[in-house]
Chain length 196, copies 2
DNA sequence: GATAAAAACGATCATACGTTCGTTTCCTGA
DNA sequence: TCAGGAAACGAACGTATGATCGTTTTTATC
């Protein structure tokens, strides 16, 4: 056999990305074999290489696309919102929403950092740092206006991000707690935690 | 060659555990080869099997020992402390201390859950659940006495644990922030966050 | 409708992996 | 002191892996 009916590049690549996302999320990058991935997409192993450079590039692209999207979305979300308190609220709500919606990408984006080439890792870490800076800025401005009481901006940002990102590891959309309640609960923890 | 001078079972096993801990923390369980591990210990690959059952068992033992230790220590730490507020403070301080001291074990204990056999994973998850319950109990009692204001005990516990465990991913003992300040900062975030 | 590129196949390569095993040397307890 | 177990070696086994390549069929372009 050879090229199959109706096959198109972009469609197959999208299928590879989706299947890869799922497999890496489930079993991890190292444990995922390209044969497994190919089978899930409905291809022979070798055919993957019509769409990806290497296994490593597949991982990097997944994480990179996610990080770029995350940054674009957070900036869009915060645009036009004034005042540190309101911006912090918006940040929390956005972060939770995004992390619920794309928990696989987020999880991989931190759990599989170690599987990246040093060069690739550096690039991702820089993007993550940029995202952290969004929160740091808000905290800093709030502290300057005496709205927040913050000992150490960076450490506080890490603590809050860790808390907010935690839901990725356990949140179940069909579970007991709904999205609204989750956001309210976390918002309260954050706002009370940093309140002056 | 054959058996080397001064070799003893327990010592070698300890060396394997330490090297394994380090390698798994650095490169991950799947990415660690037993050849790499053996080289680090100073053995031939086959010799590992005088001390471990399988690679999987090595991972399980590492995580299991850590979880049992964690549970024993938290109970010892909380014993005799009265009042939800004081117990919560003690829990936070203990958790941070332990997670700073044993960040490799803690990290592996959550990051490598997926690499465990279903049966092994079940066992570890049960132990982790038991640990979470320690915090849930404190929160519940505090809420009952109107000392804390908590919407959902389990979710709040998850949020707090995620925040407190976060330091494992970035804390550097030689870094800018010292242990004391870290504990104070987190304690404040937690206590203010749940305050009635 | 011809032609080049795209996208699949299937076979294959070299390597790395976890594990086993027979053998040899060292340590320990009767 | 010596017998037996413990702890190492080194070679090997079977398998799985990421990746390559020549070939074939489909799609897209002019």
């Amino acid at each position: 056999m050879s090229r199959t009916r109706g096959s198109s590049g972009p469609k197959t690549l999208a299928a590879i990305n989706e299947a890869g996302l799922d497999l890496i999320y489930t079993v991890g990058y190292e444990a995922m074999s390209l044969r497994e991935l190919a089978a899930k997409v409905g291809l022979q192993p070798g055919s993957l290489y019509n769409h990806i450079e290497t296994k490593q590039d597949l991982l990097f692209d997944l994480i990179h696309n996610h990080m770029v999207m995350l940054l674009a979305r957070v900036d869009a979300e915060l645009e036009g919102i004034d005042g540190p308190a309101e911006r912090l609220r918006a940040f929390v709500a956005f972060h939770l929403d995004y992390h619920i919606e794309r928990k696989r990408e987020v999880f991989i984006g931190s759990a599989e950092l170690r599987s990246l080439t040093p060069k690739h890792r550096k690039e991702i870490v820089a993007l993550r740092r940029a995202y952290e800076d969004r929160l740091c800025d808000i905290l800093k401005k709030g502290a300057a206006k005496k709205l927040f009481r913050i000992d150490d901006v960076r450490v506080t940002a890490y603590a809050l991000l860790a808390m907010l990102t935690g839901i990725c590891t356990w949140y179940d959309p069909k579970g007991r707690v709904n999205r609204r309640k989750l956001i309210d609960l976390h918002t309260r923890l954050v706002m009370e935690g940093v309140a002056a």
